[in-house]
Amino acid sequence: MKMTGAQMMLDGLVKEGVEVTFGIQGGKVIPLFDTMPQYPQIHHVLTRHEQGAAHAAEGYARATGKVGVCIATSGPGATNLVTGIADAFLDSVPMVAITGQVNRPDIGKDAFQEVDITGITLPITKHNYLVLETASLPRIVREAFYLARTGRPGPVLIDVPGDVFMEQVEYHYPKEFDLPSYKPTLKGHPAQIKRAAKLINEAKEPVILAGRGIIVSGAYAELKELAEKAQIPIITTLLGISAIPESHILNYDMLGMHGMAYANLATDAADTIIAIGMRFDDRATAKISAFNPHARVVHIDIDPAEIGKNVKVDVPIVGDVKNVLTQLNKVVESNQHVDWIARLDDWRREHPGLDIRDSESVLPQYVVKLIYEVTKGKATIVTGVGQHQMWAAQHYHYDHPNSFITSGGLGTMGYGLPASIGAQMGRPKATVWCLDGDGSFQMTIQELATIQQERLPIKIAIFNNGFLGMVRQWQEMFFGKRYVATPLSGPDFVKVAEAYGIPGAMAKRKEDVVPAIEQAMKEPGPFLIDFRIEPEENVYPMVKLGGSLIELLEGEEIEKGVATP
């Protein structure tokens, strides 16, 4: 059967199970969009910016585990995707980005809206393709989806010249494809499993550092089994949050720059570190040269290049963490670490970290805590980047698997609103809360229109401190309190929402907080709350500038004048 490139692309998407795409069209992809009505299985969400499309695809992918798809036209459409592609690359999010390109005869001539997007995205994609032969399109689509979701997931970009979309060729759906040089290792090497088990069995003071790899491979039960069997405390990275229910007795919360003191102290003191699906990012390890130098390290990751990259590893295991943990659980012995766990509990008592002080004003920590209480911990939380992101990570209790969606590696302001669109599309029945900063929110505020057009019941909580808060905190602590270019006068967010047809409320005083959250939950559609939070509230704990994990500022000390930053 003969088909156009556009038909082959969409047929490929349907065969890959794609139900929703995000993006904006333009000259070179009009033929693709013109063909969409022939494929009603696919719902296209028109975002208001291509960055929003890319983040929405990420949010969708992270909420569902499926590949998120975004589409943009050539030139500026394609470059607008770049931030989202980079974000997906750093957080290992499965994504296929489809871009239009100028017609084949025009490539390399600086034609209107020509940009070398495969060149631009070379270092931020797992792989990318420029389709020069229409007949190769079906194979490329298959390969792209396969690459995006297997191994260590990541973004794959397909750049398609306009004339390829229009050309008709004989269509063969490729049953087989050949990627001879791509063979991710999925099973752990048995000898390494044995060595790791020996190390774990001998450990006196072990911790597990759990990262997003647990969530990607769905290894929740296996992680829990390992921890329970050998009685090992679990500490998560930012992206590992919700890999283990936070109410689990062996959960000791997040480590790192704004991690809990007890998590950092335990990581620093441990004699054995079992790192699972995490990559020793500097926000997690703090000063890398001071990162627990005496621990023996088992590192499990599907990406061999992550092993030994930042931290010296004693037993590397390359493989899918679910497989590896299944293998490991068979050989790890039941164990007790009563004294060690008691020490962690002491640290937690001495450095509570999550206590919220009394205040008449709207404290951000209190807002997060009440969103948790009113949603009974069942919401999917999506965030922007900044202080509010850290408060969201710290003060919500994530008891449900994969319930925290945030931009970790790239730390992209503007991620929250579009990512929550994707998350809500992927989880239509879930309660999705977007916890955003007033700065982050204004970077992608136009996606309110998308929310309205798609009638998505997203609840938006703006932590409005009138500052680029996280930067202001650094200025306060490390730059002599000179608030250069951080005060931020925003619009009246409730009125903005109203203009988009979205109801909202403002919470100025402490007693407004609960009614506003309850009102949002009662509203069947989207709802926005403008929380006027304490403007100069800081995120604690915080690792000192350039400090190690245990060189922590814990808030109170500063306020009491005991420590200077």
Partner: protein, 178 residues
């Protein structure tokens, strides 16, 4: 961060843009490529690259893994400490006149190099060998005046019957051609 020169050999798919991917990755990860040589192999779909790059063992191992991770690479190996044959070819255009020409020819003979072109005031020498040999020939020719030079950079292969994809050193989990 003192390292030494490492020789990486890579088997990569023979497709447009592959060299760019390899070189771009080296740049992004902060490595300075001393030389890179690419050519066909015994297998039609594969090219072979020899990359010479500076770094500590740990740094080079990280680079090797990152290169190996690219979808277009079949295998990347650091053969620096292996028993290897490393060669490069250089073309050297040397100033020559009737009095110096015979002296140059003598030197070239000692190095088992060839004169591949002669002009009124120059000769062009082709030499193949390891870098040391090329360097010592160069130093001897320097006195006559070098007008132009072009070097291919190193290509390398391990000695013995093993090969990059099928040798004794192969580990079971190694990637292979389907």
């Amino acid at each position: 961060m003192t390292g030494n020169k490492h020789t990486l050999v890579a088997l990569v798919e023979d497709r447009p843009g592959v060299l760019n991917r390899m070189a771009s990755l080296c740049r992004r990860r902060g490595f300075n490529i001393e030389s890179i040589a690419v050519g066909h192999t015994e297998t039609p779909r594969l090219s072979r690259m020899t990359i010479v790059v500076d770094g500590t063992n740990a740094m080079i191992e990280q680079l090797r893994k990152q290169l190996d991770k690219l979808v277009v690479t079949m295998k990347v190996s650091d053969i620096t400490s292996d028993d290897m044959i490393a060669r490069e070819l250089a073309l050297i255009k040397v100033k020559a006149n009737s009095t110096t020409r015979s002296e140059i020819i003598q030197i070239v003979d000692i190095f088992r190099a060839d004169i591949v072109d002669v002009a009124a005031d120059s000769v062009t020498v082709e030499v193949t060998g390891d870098e040391e040999k090329v360097e010592s020939l160069l130093s001897l020719l320097h006195g006559f005046g070098i007008k132009e030079m072009s070097r291919t950079g190193r290509i390398a292969m391990t000695r013995g019957s093993s090969s990059l994809l099928g040798g004794e050193k192969a580990t079971p989990a190694r990637r292979g051609l389907k």
